[in-house]
Amino acid sequence: MTGPLAGLRVLELADETGQFCGKLLGDLGADVVKIEPPGGEPSRHVGPFLDDIPDPDRSLSFWYYNTSKRGITLDLETADGQAVFRRLAETADVVLETFRPGFLASQGLDYASLRDSNHELVWCSLTPFGQTGPWRDYLSADLLHMAAGGEMASCGYDGSDVPIAPGGGNAWHMGCHFAYIAIMAALVYRTVSGHGQYIDASIHEACALTTESAVANYIYRGEVLRRQTGRHHAAAPTPRTQFRARDGNYVTALISGGLNPRNVRNLAALMDQYGMAGDLLDPKYQDPVVIAANASYIIDHLLAGFIAALPAEEVYHAGQERGFTWGAVRTPEALLDDAHLHDRGFWKQVEHPELGRSFVYPGEAAIYNGSPWAISRRAPLIGEHNVEILQGELGLPTGEIV
């Protein structure tokens, strides 16, 4: 079986902002040709690097975001490079590009210039702010998008007004998820109409759309939400949900539905498994009035004490088995030991033949039972497929290959 996008040819001209979208397409079976400037994309210089030795073919960030792609180098500012790109675009299904607005037009290589030679082409320009508007030419960075998109306004600590940006790279993830949706919608439409189209996608807008209910809280209630440690932003303070376990790890232990008699009963039963129910088994705690009067005691004393006495993983699994929607706060490396992920065949061995080694990569977000996801190859070395594609597929003489 092949991936759901088998047979689809994608040309990716993307920096760190859009390379993840190419990976999403490539891992699902598309033939993604990454077109880099001579010397390679600047994103090859982003660390960490293999063995901490900086080198454009050793960037782990580049490795991760460029799986299942082939790579060629092309100078789009020369006549030869432009001619090659035009020929590639004639037979491509998708062009994904992240140049600053106006650059490709200045080279005569934008959608308007190329669509006549390929009416079925789906062209996605993914840029920080889109092709129009007062911020169109603004510079960006992951942190900048987390600020303006609203993410930082929602993340931080109790009792502090410092906004904190959540983990790096997610601005690009947000933009690429929406870009992928737009591209696939255009491709579905093409299966019916036979026509391609142009997509103007904005990372800033994607980030601004990824803050759950924050916008609705403002629009319908005029509320500005406050940041809280390890839990949801809120208009007024809410009880803590993040507790330190015996091993120093944290547990997210939100009581879904709140402290009602049923939840208190289950909580008492769970803690009683470990002889730590305290007085919570007392029938008086089945009275909502008594529960409400002792909410802080139950959460901050009994529950916090229970979690503090056990390893985080124990709390997580024991809680889930009792029906509590709880989780251990894991480091990424702890996931390598997660049995559930192993059951799903999540981790993949990816060969790096030039190193004579293979490495473990994260796998698929979803299992496509009828057309499997797969990493077809590791990220391309600089210009690795120049000969294969330019000579082999386009039939260019060797002298024309940069």
Partner: protein, 441 residues
């Protein structure tokens, strides 16, 4: 509008609830698919409880503002699928549909008699997207999640915060939003594959598992270099690197300084601006924007390495400048000079003050029969031939029962009325809304 839409003539049977699933189908709806949301008021989660009902309205099943934003572009069929008659009706609907999507726990649809085998029997090329917490396979498939738990278990929470402090985590359900993205991505990918091959399939998406690939560089740093995330100076908050710790990459692009959030005038809760300089040139431009203050000439800020080492002093100095200006003014002055800067924006800022989002029509009003007219969030992409747009407000619960049951499925009006009397379309003892009484006339 006469323009075609990308998913014209695609019908989606949408069992989804709460946030992640509805967020997925909202986008399929904006792209033109007919979304039929199957709901049951007794087990509803998403409409209630509501903390986003406008204060002047009664809180009921039809007045949640967040539900409205999350469920635009859908029709609602109130139906008890756990009755023989309800099941028969929904099967007739599935036979006429392209996609079935749900975000229940792993065994719910199967227990209703609507597992993939049965769906495929009813509609051989159906695209079935299940969006469960842990997926339909694996030993923990029965575990439950919402955003914060998926984020914790999958490593996202740990990566957000300051060194030597508890995780700050994500102040919202990032994985309800992003889980929704993956649900929509799976549906569209499955649909494309079906159109190309004629074959449907079951796509088993998991909120927890979908979170893991978002930690890619951190995971490879471990699997390749053996470097774990439990290390001094990590996570470095808004910085790319925490001074005084090993100079390693912390997965937010290049390791540079300045790279932080700075207080701006007048010092309110969300008066902050972030500034990042990727190169020495960008730093020199910032120095000029700040009016070339004497401190900026100190040797401890002369090179990238020096600035990384002296970030505490660097950040304090920069803040003496930013604190004199509003965050939009800092942004404009920096960006005009080619320096990376943007304001920290609250939801109010985005809706009211962000000139770019306004220019791009991200928030446009839409009229809802019970709420009135409010702004709703629009697509962050513009498709030239098949624009995505919000064409209808969220549905009232059961608003489209008559249209779906009679016009689409071809049942008689009598069937509709009987179904209300016998508890198929609405709980017998539950009061009906006026529009329901009306459709039964």
């Amino acid at each position: 509008m006469s323009q075609p839409r990308a998913l014209d003539n695609i019908r989606v049977v949408d069992f989804s609830w709460v946030r992640a699933g509805p967020w997925a189908t909202r986008w399929l709806g904006a792209l033109g698919a007919e979304i039929i949301k199957i709901e049951w008021p007794e087990t509803e989660r998403g409409r209630l409880p509501s903390s986003t009902t406008p204060r002047h309205l009664e809180t009921n099943l039809n007045t949640s503002g967040n539900f409205n934003d999350t469920n635009v572009n859908k029709k609602s069929l109130s139906l008890n699928v756990r009755t023989a008659k309800g099941l028969e009706i929904v099967k007739r609907l599935i036979a006429m549909s392209d996609i079935v999507i749900e975000n229940f726990s792993s065994r719910v649809l199967q227990n209703w008699g609507l597992g993939y085998d049965e769906l495929q029997r009813i509609k051989p090329d159906i695209v079935y997207v299940s969006m469960s917490g842990y997926g339909h396979t694996g030993r923990n498939h029965h575990y439950t999640t919402f955003g914060p738990v998926a984020q914790s278990v999958a490593g996202l929470t740990y990566l957000s915060g300051l060194p030597d402090q508890p995780p700050a985590g994500w102040g919202w359900s990032y994985m309800d939003d992003t889980g929704g993205m993956y649900g929509a991505m799976c549906a569209l990918t499955g649909l494309y594959h079906r159109n190309m091959t004629g074959k449907g399939q079951h796509i088993d998406q998991s909120q927890m598992v979908s979170s893991v690939p978002l930690n890619g560089p951190a995971l490879l740093d471990f699997t390749v270099n053996g470097r774990g995330s439990r290390r001094p100076g990590f996570p470095p908050g808004n910085r790319a690197h925490w001074p005084g710790t090993a100079l390693v990459n912390n997965y937010r692009g290049p390791t540079v300084a300045p790279h932080n959030a700075y207080r701006t005038h007048p010092g309110g809760y969300n008066d902050w601006c972030v500034i990042v300089c990727h190169t020495d040139d960008e730093w020199q431009r910032l120095v000029q924007v700040m009016g070339s203050p004497p401190w900026a000439n100190d040797s401890e800020f002369a090179t990238m390495t020096a600035r990384l080492q002296h970030q505490d002093e660097l950040d304090a100095n920069i803040e003496t400048w930013t604190a004199t200006l509003g965050k939009y003014e800092v942004t404009e002055r920096c960006q005009t000079a080619g320096v990376r800067a943007l304001p920290v924006q609250s939801a109010e800022d985005r809706v009211e003050h962000d000139p770019q989002l306004r220019h791009r029509n991200v928030y446009l009003p839409i009229e809802h029969p019970a709420l009135g007219t409010y702004k709703v969030q629009n697509a962050p992409f513009k498709l030239s031939e098949t624009p995505a747009y919000n064409h209808r407000s969220s549905p009232l619960i059961g608003q489209h029962n008559r249209e779906i049951v009679e016009d689409l499925l071809g049942y008689s009006h009598d069937t509709l009325r009987t179904g209300f009397d016998d508890g198929t379309f609405w709980p017998v003892k539950r009061a009906r809304f006026a529009y329901q009484e009306e459709m039964l006339q």
